[in-house]
Symmetry: C2
Subunit: 103 residues, 2 copies
């Protein structure tokens, strides 16, 4: 599915880490939210409040979740999950296009 | 109005000029499209196919439309229009958050 239908989109973008990460918030009829975005080549640390599932549409990244020693590589068509109230390190090797599913 | 309701959102971002401009496409029930996006501080030239109206949510830019000699400055709450099959130069002074209305 290349698009989300019957949703609302918040006009104002979310810009993090001086533009290394840009996303837009998508609100679903049930009130749940997702974000669609990109992460440019960089090494970043994201904190989570709700649990997250990062669905990769394009690009390549390496991820290390809090408390884990190893890095795992993910690419288009794959996804990774992160518990809530946690964090993950991400090294983007090729510009990442993603959907972040919250909750 | 801070969001668009009852729309579709294309998951994959539009990334132009090596990431200086990032947007997402929003599709309306009548089939018309808009994009929501950001332009980071830079000097760029955009070509238009359909006429465009650039609605500024945040930031500051200077714009010179094709065939015009003068630059005009626009900021949050303002908008500018560009004919179809034309172009405009834009110098973004502060990261621009915009909605582009096509047609």
């Amino acid at each position: 599915m290349s698009q989300f239908d019957n949703v609302s989109v918040v006009k104002q973008a979310n810009v993090y880490f001086d533009g290394k990460c840009v996303s837009h918030t998508v609100v679903f009829a049930d009130g749940s939210k997702k974000s669609v975005g990109v992460i440019f080549p960089s090494q970043l640390v994201f904190n989570t409040r709700a649990p997250e599932i990062m669905e990769i549409n394009g690009g390549v990244c390496k991820v290390r979740r809090a408390g884990e020693s190893g890095w795992k590589t993910y690419q288009a068509g794959e996804q990774f999950s992160v518990p809530g109230n946690s964090s993950f390190e991400i090294e983007t090797l090729e510009t990442l296009d993603y959907v972040c599913h919250f909750g």
